[in-house]
Symmetry: C2
Subunit: 124 residues, 2 copies
């Protein structure tokens, strides 16, 4: 019951905590969207990330809010309006996202590696 960074099993790897935080499923598209295009209402996020269900979107937004990466603002109007925005802490991930975007140039090499691998094993 260690509240701090007690050695989690798969952690031969010091970057795992950040990976778990930032790169769990759906979090990247949400953070990217809020970072690139500014604040969004719930339904706007739903429309941008077309395949996410409302349940899962809610789950991920709550998690991101709890982690301090996203802020939620409730406007008690009729109809109600809720706005999600990235926080300063969330914005601090931008260089990290940029690093990843930079590496995308290598995706072609990955494709070629896969083709070579598969070609060398025709039947399996």
């Amino acid at each position: 019951m260690e509240t701090t960074a007690d050695i989690a099993p798969e952690q031969a790897c010091p970057i795992s905590p950040v990976v778990d935080l930032v790169f769990s499923r759906w979090t990247t598209p949400i953070l990217w969207t809020l970072n690139e295009y500014g604040r969004h209402r719930f339904v706007e996020l739903e429309r941008r990330i077309t395949t996410i269900s409302p349940k899962v979107l809610t789950q991920r937004l709550r998690q991101l809010e709890r982690d301090g990466l996203v802020s939620r603002t409730y406007h008690a109007e009729v109809p109600p309006r809720v706005e999600y925005a990235i926080t300063d802490l969330g914005r601090s991930l931008a260089p990290l996202f940029a690093s990843i975007a930079d590496w995308s140039v290598n995706l072609g090499k990955v494709d070629r590696a896969r083709q070579d691998y598969d070609a060398a094993r025709p039947t399996g």
Copy 2:
């Protein structure tokens, strides 16, 4: 029918392909280990990443090999010896890993955000 990279569902987000490739489960500890500590035999990886089962380790290593991020060398000895090493392409992820490691300084802020969030919602 998009001529280019046809718009995958969750891709309001151009970095998703790299995220799926590099940050799927178990891949980060494997790549980190091979990158930091050099080539490893199968059993050595098992010992470093203590909670992974041999089945899953094999699956992930095959995937990484197919993607060109890891190389596998089989030595037909008795007993057999297999060595896994990171490739040049895999090593090119190092700056990305460094970005993530750098961001780890912010984990304290995440912890505090969680405490604040939980404190504001005692019973749920």
